[in-house]
Symmetry: C2
Subunit: 114 residues, 2 copies
C-alpha cells in the first residue's frame, strides 16, 4: 500500500480525487501520458485499497477510500514528534476539538443517567 503512493502520477490522482468523484476519462485527460497508462495506475490504486470504483453506465467513477489512509497515518504516527501533533491540533481547533468536547459532555450526561 505504501508502494502505491510512491509514484508521482498516482499521488496526483489521489489529490485530484480529493475534489470528489471522477471518471477514468476525466482523470486520464489531465495527464500527458496515454489513457491505458493511467488505467493501470488506477488499477494499482484500486488494489492498494486507497481508491474505490463504481460502474455507472459506461463509465467508471473513482473515489477515495478514507479507511486506508488511516492505516498509513497509523504507520507514520510513531515517527512524528509531539510538536507535529500540536500543529494539527491548531489547524483543527474549531473543527474537531469543539465537537469533541461537546460529545464528551454528552457522554458525561449519559453516564450520570445510567
Amino acid at each position: 500500500m505504501a508502494a502505491a503512493i510512491a509514484d508521482p502520477v498516482r499521488r496526483q490522482i489521489l489529490v485530484m480525487l480529493r475534489g470528489g468523484r471522477l471518471s477514468a476519462g476525466q482523470i486520464a485527460g489531465r495527464f500527458p501520458i496515454s489513457r491505458p497508462a493511467v488505467s493501470r495506475h488506477l488499477r494499482v490504486l484500486r488494489q492498494s485499497g486507497l481508491v474505490r470504483d463504481e460502474l455507472v453506465g459506461r463509465q467508471r467513477l473513482y473515489e477515495l477510500d478514507a479507511g486506508r489512509f488511516t492505516e498509513l497515518a497509523a504507520w507514520l504516527a510513531p515517527f512524528l514528534q509531539p510538536s507535529d501533533w500540536e500543529h494539527r491540533l491548531d489547524a483543527l481547533e474549531t473543527e474537531v476539538y469543539r465537537t469533541r468536547r461537546e460529545r464528551r459532555a454528552a457522554d458525561q450526561t449519559k453516564e450520570n443517567t445510567a
Copy 2:
C-alpha cells in the same frame, strides 16, 4: 521522498531506527540480504532526507531525521477524516494535550502582563 518508504526493507530500517542510532553493520546484520544491498538502501534513505548519518571512527551511525516525516504527515493530513485525528488525540491525551493547555495558560499570563 515518498518513494523511499515504498520498499519494505527501507521501512523496516526506519522502524529499527526508532529505537535509537544504529551503525550500518548493525542494521545489515538484521537482514538476510547482503551488506552492500543494505548499504544502498541506506543511501536511498539518506538522499531522501529521512535519515541522517555521522561517521564515528570506522563506523557510520544512522538516525532518523524527524523533519522529513513531518512533511510526509503534512501531505497525508488532507486525506484523513476528523475522526482519525480524534484517535490520535486520545492516544496523546496525557502527553501533549495537557502540556499544551499548560503553555496556553502561561501565554495568557504573559499577555496580561504585557
